[in-house]
């Protein structure tokens, strides 16, 4: 059953919505329109001469093998970040929820990384894993693993995924914890009395009841992996070795802000926007059906 509210006045709903609409228009629609506009233009760095080039920027992307390859890289990266980020934080939330003593300390520590800027997170992990001076790479070498993310693509991908997941765990954790705490204790207890063990209780009751949260986080984490991770990549690997960690949004950032190719960068962000919109639609149409509200 959907709940609906009816207004008798014709203008009141619009007025009530106006602040939100203004914010979205200013911070979403306007920049998005700018991106669309710039994606069909080619200009010099200072914007003194602007040419209309139609779909040339998109054609250039299409002809660039490395750009097409970065779709694959992005898919791997985003899937890893979203799946690992959600499962690790769900695990942590379930444990934190069961803790009786010192719960506040654990929770605070788990939420902490969210306050760290992405670039700082990238540098932090970079230091720990630096091939010659990093603490972790030193341990790994002791274990017989020759860690070198400067030349080994798998190592580099592992590094940026870890940094990105670590950064996002806090956010996911908060939502899962809130979700867990809103599940009525009586339900769990009833199941326990019926003889369901913790493992079974989790999969048949807790997890389905958490599904709205999980779904929400899936969407958010996908968007995070697609859009918000360029600073981590820039600080940790700069897309290297080769292009092994050059995800789509990193190239948008690099081409736009470092190489100052506004047209090319805008075209890429349009492509990215289309992908994320499509992904979100897919998620809402198919995944959401499995969600119990």
């Amino acid at each position: 059953m959907e709940k609906r509210v009816f207004f008798r006045s014709a203008w009141l709903p619009w007025v009530l919505m106006a602040p939100q609409v203004a914010v979205i228009a200013l911070f979403f629609f306007w920049p998005a329109a700018q991106a669309l506009l710039q994606s069909v233009q080619q200009s010099d760095a200072f914007g003194t001469s602007v040419d209309w080039v139609g779909l040339d920027n998109f054609r250039n992307l299409w002809n660039d093998d490395t750009y097409l390859a970065s779709f694959y890289t992005t898919a791997i990266f985003s899937t890893l970040v979203a799946v690992l980020g959600i499962s690790v934080s769900l695990l942590l939330a379930v444990f934190a929820d069961r803790i009786v003593k010192g719960a506040l300390a654990y929770k605070t520590l788990l939420i902490w990384p969210y306050a760290v800027a992405p670039a700082v997170a990238g540098v932090l992990w970079l230091f720990m894993f630096a091939p010659s001076v990093g603490v972790v790479s030193y341990w790994l070498r002791a274990l017989g693993i020759d860690w070198n993310h400067l030349l080994n693509g798998t190592h580099a991908m592992t590094l940026v995924v870890m940094a990105a997941v670590w950064k996002q765990i806090s956010y996911n954790f908060l939502f899962f914890l809130a979700g867990l705490q809103s599940i009525p204790k009586s339900l769990i207890e009833a199941a326990a009395i019926d003889g369901a063990r913790p493992w079974r209780r989790f999969w048949t009751m807790v997890f389905p009841l958490l599904s709205p949260t999980t779904f929400f986080l899936l969407v958010i984490n996908m968007v995070y992996a697609f859009f918000d991770t360029f600073a981590i990549i820039d600080a940790a690997t700069q897309g290297g070795p080769g292009k092994d960690t050059a995800i789509l949004v990193y190239k948008v950032y690099f081409d736009g802000f470092k190489a100052m190719d506004m047209g090319g960068s805008a075209a890429q962000s349009v492509v990215l926007m289309v992908i994320v919109v499509a992904l979100t639609v897919v998620q809402f149409r198919f995944v959401e059906k499995k969600v119990n509200y």
């Binding site: 080619q42 200009s43 010099d44 760095a45 200072f46 914007g47 003194t48 001469s49 040419d51 250039n60 002809n63 660039d64 490395t66 091939p131 010659s132 400067l150 030349l151 080994n152 693509g153 700069q238 897309g239 290297g240 070795p241 080769g242 292009k243 050059a246 690099f254 081409d255 802000f257 470092k258 190489a259 100052m260 190719d261 047209g263 090319g264």
Partner: protein
């Protein structure tokens, strides 16, 4: 962003009206020791006269300050003078409406300005095909070779004799490794040192059209047999653990200063850092070369930055800019700057003055960079100036990394650099054809 610039401009104009002198804004990217140098230059100029006041502002790294200037220009608040690294030169040159050629600034202000006073490799780089000097050479560097004398001694090598050729470098590296050294050789700025400067040093083309200096229709040529041979050589050294890749840009420099790597090729501007922080005896030497290549060694290419004058300012302010440039290019100021920073003396007069003062004898190695640069340049060695250069540098990094990692052969990677680089060059040519 725009709001911030507007606020800065407002603050600046308030300050302006309070004083009778004309303020000239100068955005730069010099930090630490070099940042102090820039401030001292401004102080020296401001004290030398009373009509103008140079205000230097640190705006982040080279690419950050360039991005800030672009944003400021679009908002109508650009500085008068902007320091731009050599990689951004072609972009600046193409932005004709955003800049004023330095030759014009000097002429309009009635200042004497002779481009011939500059070392030809330096002046040529900042001069348009038409012969007009577009930006003011400021801090120029080039690629040199540094080695750890203590490590050489320990490995039984002569610490006073730097390996001059690549075969000698490989031999020295093998001896260092046999002596237990984990990183005999590394390279910083791999694209700049191993492809760009390497080309000029061996008098082979890096790109057509005099490496881009003669026109925007230049195309990459880095897959020549000599380039392939060199990258193959380095790849073999990497396989044997003689050459160890330590990252992009100047990141590998730290491994030389710490003593981890015994030899490195990088910028002459690295000298100040080594002098201050290295806890071992070190030596500077010319870039290694292949002795069997005819014409080698030629000269190395320029790096560093120059000062650009931005468009849309008042005539009086341009006069201040011109006076400041005249002040900075006097042989005394030039020579003092060179001794202080390790950047090249950019005028012949400044070089002679420095030589006369006995500085090179007291500080052995400081003349290496200068000697590599003050030679008669050829069309293939004058310098490299390409459009979309920032991206091309990244392509060089990406492809070379795949060679060091054993994923691609030298030939495959260099072919890929040519192919991907040419696409960018074609696009740049197309975007800047009109105007």
């Amino acid at each position: 962003m725009k709001l911030k610039f507007a606020a800065v401009a407002l603050a600046a104009s308030c300050a302006l009206s309070a004083q009778a002198v004309t303020e000239v804004q100068w955005w730069h990217s010099m930090t630490a020791v070099n940042g102090e140098w820039v401030n001292d230059l401004a102080k020296g100029f401001n004290a030398s006269q009373s009509n103008y006041k140079i205000v230097p502002t640190y705006k982040g790294t080279y690419d950050e300050s360039m991005t800030s200037a672009v944003a400021a220009f679009r908002a109508g608040n650009a500085p008068h003078i902007l320091q731009v690294f050599e990689v951004g030169t072609a972009t600046m040159m193409a932005s004709k409406n955003a800049i004023v050629p330095v030759g014009k600034v000097m002429k309009d202000a009635g200042q004497k300005f002779d481009p011939k006073a500059y070392i030809s490799a330096v002046a040529g780089y900042y001069t348009a095909p038409s012969g007009e000097m577009l930006s003011f050479p400021f801090n120029s560097s080039t690629t040199v070779f540094y080695y750890n004398k203590d490590a050489f001694k320990a490995a039984g090598l002569d610490p006073e004799k730097a390996p001059g050729s690549w075969p000698e470098v490989a031999l020295a590296a093998a001896k260092l490794k046999a002596n237990g050294h984990k990183c005999p050789l590394t390279v910083a700025w791999q694209g700049w040192t191993q492809l760009e400067s390497f080309s000029a040093w061996h008098n082979v083309e890096f790109a057509t059209k005099a490496n881009g200096l003669a026109g925007m229709d230049a195309r990459m040529k880095v897959n020549s047999p000599l380039h392939v041979r060199h990258i193959e050589n380095l790849a073999n050294m990497a396989k044997q653990g003689l050459f160890v890749y330590k990252g992009r840009a100047n990141v590998p420099e730290a491994t030389f200063v710490s003593g981890e790597c015994a030899m490195i090729t990088t910028s002459s501007g690295f000298y100040g850092n080594v002098k201050k922080n290295a806890k071992f005896a070190y030596g500077l030497a010319p870039l290694p070369y292949y002795p069997d290549v005819p014409g080698a060694p030629q000269n190395t290419v320029i790096g560093g930055a120059s000062l650009w004058v931005m468009a849309g300012k008042k005539a009086d302010e341009y006069k201040g800019v011109a006076e400041f440039f005249t002040y900075v290019s006097s042989p005394e100021v030039q020579s003092a700057s060179h001794k202080r920073t390790g950047y090249l003396p950019i005028t012949t007069a400044a070089f002679q003055l420095t030589e006369k003062s006995g500085f090179y004898k007291e500080n052995p190695g400081t003349d290496v960079a200068v000697n590599q640069m003050i030679r008669k340049v050829t069309d293939k060695s004058r310098g490299i100036r390409l459009g979309n250069y920032v991206q091309i540098r990244t392509i060089e990094d990406e492809e070379l990394e795949q060679v060091w990692g054993g994923k691609k052969s030298a030939k495959e990677a260099l072919d890929a650099i040519v192919k991907r680089g040419n696409e960018l060059l074609e696009r740049f040519e197309k975007a800047n054809k009109k105007g």
